[in-house]
Symmetry: C2
Subunit: 389 residues, 2 copies
């Protein structure tokens, strides 16, 4: 196990009606004037927007608002939010929505406190200061409600890049599973896939002697395998939604990933896909992650044997271990298909001729190979895209 630090100071309020306490939490964590940041109409249709506005009003907490966050959130709205916060003297950013609203809020919160261009943070500068952030989560997927990360797409060049820093951990996050019940099956399945791949990117590691985090990773995967089909069959299954919502936080606040190398190749390869075609990130991962697994498995079979036997219940074939490792990946693919996820680039509308463009767009030629578990150069990434055809 490697040395590590772990700091997850977010206050989580989980369960039915917890959004009604939003003003209490804004005050507790230092907010005196709030930016409410959200996407489209769903937070209004659900009544959540009205609940928040009433709660802030009753508590005499002034606010301004900025809607219009899109999936794969864009830098243009971030610049707008930063300017609005400065003009209005906002000292707290409240995200309502899924990972896109939260990531956009994090970018605004960091940008307000920074003299330069906020995009510097998305080019590798660590985020050391930001306005405090609160979230009311409505989609279980990105894990941004508990993470120190944010992903934004810059329109100029369609660069999808991440920023990170302790200051981006939300001060509080309100998680009411009931708000996730209105999410259609396809988006629910994409969210579940994202959660599972957040775990896999930590699980497939070269660091040995990490039984505790391996077991925690497997715990989240096993939970998702049980609960996801239940929300596809019945979107209003509160308990299944609740298990998935908490699993989504645990999958990405890094309690499952400390003390080990991580390998975020599938996310990196998928980001090019969703930037170019604007597909749902989780659906992109359903296509890319199994292809990545098949490509790297022969080089690192042991971990795939553990994955196959502990997570997918495969019997170990000691005479033909590779068959067991492949069977684990096959069962993962069958699971993704069963919840309605695509498995090929074609299903996403992606074209074979774009593969070189996507592979080259990652900047490997300039920055060097990606990946920790298995290092990947441009040709490897191209081969992974082709395995997903």
């Amino acid at each position: 196990m490697n040395n590590f630090t772990f700091y997850s100071p977010t206050y989580f309020a989980f369960g039915k009606d917890t959004e009604k306490d939003v003003a209490k939490y804004v005050k507790r964590f230092g907010g005196s004037k709030v930016l409410i940041h959200y996407g489209g109409g769903s937070v209004k249709r659900s009544g959540l927007y009205d609940t928040v506005v009433s709660a802030l009003g009753e508590a005499n907490i002034p606010f301004v608002e900025l809607g219009g966050v899109k999936p794969n959130p864009r830098s243009g709205l971030v610049y707008e939010g930063i300017e609005l916060c400065r003009k209005e003297g906002v000292d707290f950013v409240l995200a309502i929505g899924g990972g896109s609203a939260i990531d956009s809020s994090k970018a605004i919160a960091a940008g307000v406190k920074y003299d330069g261009d906020f995009w510097d943070y998305y080019q590798g500068k660590p985020v050391e200061e930001a306005l405090p952030i609160g979230t009311i989560l409505t989609i279980a997927a990105a894990g941004s409600e508990g993470s120190p990360d944010s992903v934004i797409t810059k329109e100029d060049g369609m660069l999808k890049r991440g920023a990170s820093g302790e200051a981006l951990r939300p001060a509080f996050s309100i998680l009411n599973p009931a708000f996730t019940c209105s999410l259609p099956p396809y988006q629910s399945a994409a969210g579940a896939t994202d959660i599972m791949i957040h775990v896999c990117e930590r699980y497939f590691s070269n660091t040995t002697e990490v039984e505790v985090t391996d077991r925690l990773c497997e715990a989240i995967l096993l939970t998702m395998i049980k609960e996801t089909p239940r929300i596809i069959a019945d979107p209003n299954n509160y308990d299944a939604r609740a298990n998935i919502m908490w699993a989504g936080m645990v999958a990405h606040n890094n309690i499952c990933g400390v003390g080990r190398e991580q390998d975020w190749s599938s996310h990196g390869i998928e980001h090019e896909l969703s930037a170019l075609y604007d597909v749902a990130h989780g659906a992109g991962l359903a296509v890319i992650a199994p292809a990545w697994m098949k490509y790297v498995m022969p080089k690192k079979m042991d971990k795939f044997l553990q994955f196959a036997t502990r997570v997918w219940g495969c019997s170990m074939d000691y005479e033909h271990p590779e068959a067991t490792a492949l069977e684990g990946i096959r069962r993962f693919e069958a699971f993704l298909k069963s919840i309605g996820m695509p498995l090929t680039l074609g299903e996403l509308g992606a074209k074979e001729e774009d593969i070189p463009k996507m592979a080259n767009h990652m900047g490997i030629a300039k920055k060097g190979p990606i990946g920790g578990f298995v290092k990947l150069d441009v040709a490897d990434v191209e081969a992974i895209y082709r395995l997903a055809l």
Copy 2:
């Protein structure tokens, strides 16, 4: 799943040499004058005490110290510590040691900020304010390094009682597994048992639809089953020590216990034992917990079937489920024995004639039955003690 809040803002620094950064963390979390609180000579023999004193000295952070914390820490030293902190203007309490040093530090930190008798907190008053606390952990067991809890024994009447409150969560905890390598096998096994029972007290719950926390509980138990025999065989196995140390934190910061009823009966029943005989808490739990399991299992067999099959690898006997449930408990007992733990009151030196005294000392006649999973009155508790004879 039940509604819950979860707040674990402790900053964890984990791994080799992390204790050298102690002054940086004291400053970061607001300490300007420190009480160093510890037990006996082991922190001096290991060099840890000197490292801390040097680090604080180099950073010009003044400190006073109070040693002498004993296992099952006593109220007398807490009163002394409170008086010392007030006299010296201490604003930060730094615990060096295991759960006893940390729990005693928490009691002092809360007592300093309270006008009344600190023991009020151990009679049910929630702790709302305390000096900030830092810990340097040297024993993997109690989980106090990440928990909001403290257990103290009052000499007058030998009452062993717990206090709780968010203010008792340490501001930072430094976990260097190397310091746990000097712990003898018996104490190491007792610590491992304590960690496992912290999980079990959460696992055996009447709350249904908690797959995510069930799986997290099982992850910690499976980790302990793998790693504990390795530290018994080789106390200097750093990696096994590291897995156990992190598992000990995860087992008790409540990430495995949120959203569900918990049942702390085994701890309550054991507290009477260790208060009367001053036995190692974990060894007492090794005797009490399996007896509790055997006593309650017929009333709640389903959860014991899950425990047997998922944790202990039992094959489910669908024709004779009770045999499977019992086999799970039997394997747990065999595991405890294999790591050198006692399984009977006799091995602890406890006497049959003290059973009524211990059962009555819990205050059940006055406060009502204990337990959530299965409610236990005085006769039930007596029966559990007798099952452990």
